[in-house]
């Protein structure tokens, strides 16, 4: 199952990570310990592709996660042999192994010191900077982590991953306006990423529901736009339709309660009839997706089981409301 090996590790569930880690010894056995640069030897050795090294990295992460430290070290050793110990990415992976093996806070502090030493020499070392930020966050120093990440984005402002991390950090602190800003920056870099549009829609919806700052109606209007864009970019996107249904339900609910229009801001809500149409379309599509997934249609099995279950629950809840 090479596709599982190539998926970014953090998207895997625990069971999948275990599956990947179990493939590690076999993969290590099948592939040579080092690749020769000479064209003569490359005739006899298996081909080396960029995927090989992505797989090594993913195996390393999976082994660390499942606690198989010896295999993890073997993977790391191969990476070191291939790219050299001074390679930025490999250094970050070495740090990662140390982080994983650290048992208490003082050991983590030591790893953090090492990162800072490397950064003192070269403060634009991207992988190490990211590790430092992640480690600060893991140690619970969220504000320091945000500060470091903002500094990081000063010199590497086209890093969508970092903007997303910043958005997540702000969101964990309940700073919705900042999170939305960071998320929008990420969308400027990856404007076609339909999952980022849906994510921004979700954050906006959360901001509207919290109701602490800004105009909730305004947030809802923006959120509606984002969900619409995400399903425009991707047909049958469960997450986009789910969010669209949620936000239109909320808007229709608010409209029926109070007939107060919110055209004071730059975002004006669409007509109620349009919102109703969107709601109906989302309901229909969600129903379709849930039905096809449950019917084990082979062309519709790519959805996450948890997401489908959530959609099913929400659909049944909203249909009960309609009956009442």
């Amino acid at each position: 199952m090479p596709s599982l090996l190539l998926r970014p590790h953090a998207t895997l569930s625990h069971a999948e990570a275990l599956q990947v880690a179990q493939q590690a010894p076999e993969f290590l056995r099948k592939n040579p310990a080092s690749y020769s640069a000479s064209p003569f030897f490359s005739l006899f050795s298996p081909p080396e592709s960029s995927n090989t090294w992505t797989i090594y990295e993913n195996l390393l992460l999976a082994c660390l996660r499942t606690g198989d430290n010896t295999t993890a070290h073997q993977c790391l050793e191969r990476l070191v042999v291939r790219f050299g110990a001074s390679d930025e990415r490999v250094t970050a992976l070495q740090g990662l192994v140390k982080e994983a093996e650290a048992t208490n806070d003082s050991e983590l502090e030591k790893v953090l010191k090492e990162y800072e030493e490397i950064l003192a020499k070269d403060n634009t070392n991207v992988p190490i900077s990211k590790r430092r930020i992640a480690l600060l966050r893991a140690m619970g120093k969220t504000s320091e982590s945000i500060e470091a990440l903002v500094q990081f984005l000063d010199f590497s402002s086209t890093d969508a991953e970092a903007w997303m991390e910043l958005a997540d950090l702000y969101l964990s602190q309940g700073l919705y306006a900042q999170a939305i800003y960071a998320q929008e920056e990420a969308l400027i870099i990856a404007p076609n990423a339909w999952n980022l549009h849906a994510r921004l829609g979700e954050v906006l919806l959360m901001a509207a529901e919290s109701g602490n700052e800004g105009n909730p109606q305004n947030y809802l209007a923006q959120s509606l736009k984002r969900f619409c864009r995400s399903i425009e970019l991707s047909d049958d996107y469960l997450r986009g339709y789910y969010g669209l249904k949620r936000v239109t339900d909320k808007l229709l609910d608010a409209n029926s309660k109070e007939k107060k229009s919110a055209e004071s801001d730059e975002f004006t809500l669409p007509e109620t009839s349009t919102i109703e149409k969107l709601n109906q379309a989302a309901t229909k599509k969600l129903g379709d997706i849930v039905r096809k997934y449950d019917a084990k249609d082979p062309l519709w099995q790519g959805y996450d089981a948890g997401e489908v279950a959530a959609a099913r629950t929400y659909l049944s809840e909203s249909s009960q409301k309609v009956v009442r």
Binding site: P8, H9, H14, A17, R65, A134, E165, Q301
Partner: protein, 164 residues
Amino acid sequence: MLVPCRASTKLHLTFSPAPSQSPASSHQQPRSNTMAWLSRPLTVIGLVILAHGCYSAHEHTVLSSTSVQHPTSPSATSLPLDIYIETIAATLLICLGLVLGSGTPEPIQWHTWAGKIEREGDSTSGDADKELRSNPFNALEARSGFINISKLRSDFVKYQQLGK
């Protein structure tokens, strides 16, 4: 359906006649199968006709250069019209056969392609080595550069204890 989205996407050009709706994707398979069956004979017949056209052209040139008294006159050296027609028809036939025999094209519209990824995931694809069949932007939400390994580790231990 969403009216504005539909209208804007009509502007793009597409090879694939399959829209995202379910009935189309289910009856697509048999159609391409019958076409594949037709394509092999069509290509073979086209090749035979093309070979015949080439042979005729060759024979005609040889004959005209030896038997005709005035080989420099343009009417004698030019090929008869039926050989031209035969060659062109054979070429078109081969093209048709090859096009019909090629498999269902991959979607080239962004939203169709993305929808396919969302619907099918990477479980159904046989040749996963060739290309990664999952949302390429998932990496932005997973953020492997910022992975929190110690938390993942402790979560995994909990997960295993739950399993037992």
